[in-house]
């Protein structure tokens, strides 16, 4: 077959055309640039459908990102506040120094304990003095005996809601020598219950959203592919490999995903700063003071990566359903 080709070329009128041309696409970057150029040309030719795809991806990511932003901030608040879920166990009598270690070990063995600190009568008194600095007169006549020794206990994050705290306290009361247990404010516990619920909802909603978005994006991309059905068919008929046909679409999907992600991040930043700027006037609090934060660079990168992945997988699945060449 090679012979017939050489023969037929020899007879072509212009010898220039018969020289076998260099393959510009040989090598990874040559091919990549060809496919990218093709992808860009496709984007330009189907501006409307491409914009729909980008908008879909961007909207989906924006919803996800808003959710993430709220979550990250609530989590930040929760971490700060729930440190207040601290349990203090008071002793009738100050335990002997040797017994303290044993007591701490016993308490630590109760599930949910994060840390245990022993506060002796002495320390309790010096804390009190520190707190009443400048009003020492109030403390005249008070000696260390008045204040009881105690254990300050912090709980794991998962054990900071009502139910877990109640359980924990019940277990704590069984420890010998503990006479009274005090624990953090009720609302903090309720908030933590809410946070646990929110995390669960987030997980469910997140997975649901991902599936839905993938479905929508894949179908939107299918529109762009459908618009070029003839082209795919023709490429295949003139001998294009499946990879050659698919590559521009995959690159197109990646570009659309990245563009969608960037747009969603811009919109997110817009929402965030608009909120920060205006919240003061209608909420009556300064949001900056409340410790609100924007997403971390890692989160932003994850959203960008998510967009790229979304575009890529969307293209891939819709191509698979389309091309059986």
């Amino acid at each position: 077959m090679a012979a017939s080709k050489a023969n037929s070329m020899k007879n072509t009128p212009k010898p220039a055309a018969s020289v076998r041309p260099k393959l510009a696409q040989e090598g990874f970057f040559g091919r990549l640039s060809y496919f990218s150029a093709r992808a860009l040309a496709n984007l330009r030719q189907n501006v409307f459908v491409s914009l729909v795809t980008v908008a879909t991806i961007s909207l989906a990511l924006l919803i996800g990102a808003l959710f993430l932003l709220v979550y990250v901030n609530l989590e930040g608040l929760a971490n700060g506040w729930s440190d207040k879920v601290q349990i203090t166990a008071y002793f009738d009598k100050e335990p002997a120094p040797l017994a303290v270690a044993a007591l701490k070990t016993t308490v630590k063995s109760i599930p949910g304990t994060k840390s245990v600190t022993f506060i002796s009568k002495q320390e309790a008194e010096s804390r009190l003095r520190a707190r009443l600095k400048g009003q020492e007169s109030l403390l005249e006549g008070v000696n260390a005996d008045v204040l009881p020794a105690s254990l300050e206990i912090r709980l794991d994050r998962e054990h900071r809601d009502n139910f877990a705290v109640t359980h924990y306290v019940a277990a704590l009361k069984k420890v010998q020598g503990i006479s009274e247990v005090q624990y953090g404010e009720e609302w903090v516990q309720r908030f933590n219950t809410f946070m646990n619920f929110f995390r669960l909802m987030g997980l469910l909603l997140g997975s649901f959203l991902t599936v839905a978005v993938l479905f929508i994006v894949s179908n939107t991309i299918k529109l762009t592919i459908y618009a070029r059905k003839e082209e795919l068919e023709l490429l295949s008929l003139v001998g294009a490999t499946r990879f050659f046909i698919k590559a521009p679409f995959l690159i197109e999907g990646i570009l659309q995903g990245a563009l969608g992600a960037l747009l969603s991040l811009l919109a997110l930043a817009g929402c965030y700063f608009a909120f920060m700027h205006n919240a003061g006037s209608f909420l009556g609090v300064n949001p900056a003071g409340a410790g609100l934060t924007f997403l971390s660079p890692l989160h932003l990168a994850a959203i960008l990566g998510g967009g790229v992945l979304l575009g890529f997988i969307g293209s891939l699945t819709s191509l698979r359903r389309f091309i059986n060449i």
Binding site: M1, S8, N11, P13, Y34, E230, L234, G239, F244
Partner: protein, 238 residues
């Protein structure tokens, strides 16, 4: 060399579009495939470039059995076959130049070489003033020539044309047929499906006649040299 052994093709069960096709077309031959509308001409051609796989039998191109090729091998076979489709299949949103370039892009040629080669063939076809038009702005004859340029730009071993003279006037028909002859003179095997009796009669080539999916006349293998005396042809062998 194109060979078909006991080929049968059914689009739907029980309805045969082709049956018992045995056919041999030697390398460098020029044959017409004829028969009434619905006789199976397009179906037979589609089997040759593997757009369809036969329901029964074997199709061999240069000894390669198309029915046994994997999906990744089929593109390689198609690259050595130029096809002018019955409906042209020109891409409406690309220029004439880009439409013809597709054949070479698929092969991985560089832009500059593609440009040269494509310009050269379009010039030969008298289309150099239409390089940047889109196909929809061309006349039927011009579209036909673009489709032919796309099929020939790669100097294929085999040229397949399905009803290439469909709606053309006599002058255009003549021009198209001359391009086929030129390609044939350069060693390309040419297979043309047509029901245009005048085209067939003027050419004095082998004619394969189909009727209701069966070959009713294998035709005489054409005698090289004989026909070129009858039809005026600028580029005779040499």
């Amino acid at each position: 060399m194109i060979q078909l052994h006991n080929v049968g093709m059914s689009y739907q069960p029980e309805v045969a579009a082709l049956s018992d096709i045995n056919l041999k077309i030697p390398k460098g031959d020029f044959v017409f495939l004829t028969g009434q509308s619905g006789a199976g001409k397009s179906t037979l051609l589609k089997l040759l470039y593997a757009e369809l796989t036969p329901s029964r039998g074997q199709v061999l191109i240069d000894g390669q059995n198309l029915t046994r090729l994997s999906r990744s091998q089929i593109p390689l076979v198609r690259r050595s076959i130029g096809v002018v489709f019955q409906d042209y299949k020109l891409l409406p949103n690309r220029t004439v130049l880009e439409n013809v370039a597709i054949t070479l892009e698929v092969l991985g040629w560089g832009q500059r070489d593609i440009g040269k080669k494509v310009f050269h063939i379009l010039k030969r076809m008298g289309l150099e003033s239409k390089l940047n038009s889109t196909p929809l702005r061309l006349s039927g004859g011009e579209q036909q020539r673009v489709a032919l340029a796309r099929a020939l730009v790669n100097d294929p071993k085999i040229l397949i044309a399905d009803e290439p003279t469909g709606n053309l006037d006599e002058e255009n028909k003549e021009a198209i047929l001359n391009f086929f002859k030129e390609a044939n003179n350069r060693g390309t095997t040419v297979v043309v499906a047509t029901h245009d009796r005048r085209v067939i009669e003027n050419s004095h080539r082998r004619v394969i006649r189909l009727d209701k999916g069966r070959i009713v006349d294998q035709g005489e293998p054409s005698l090289p040299g004989e026909e070129s005396a009858e039809v005026p042809d600028g580029s005779v062998q040499g």
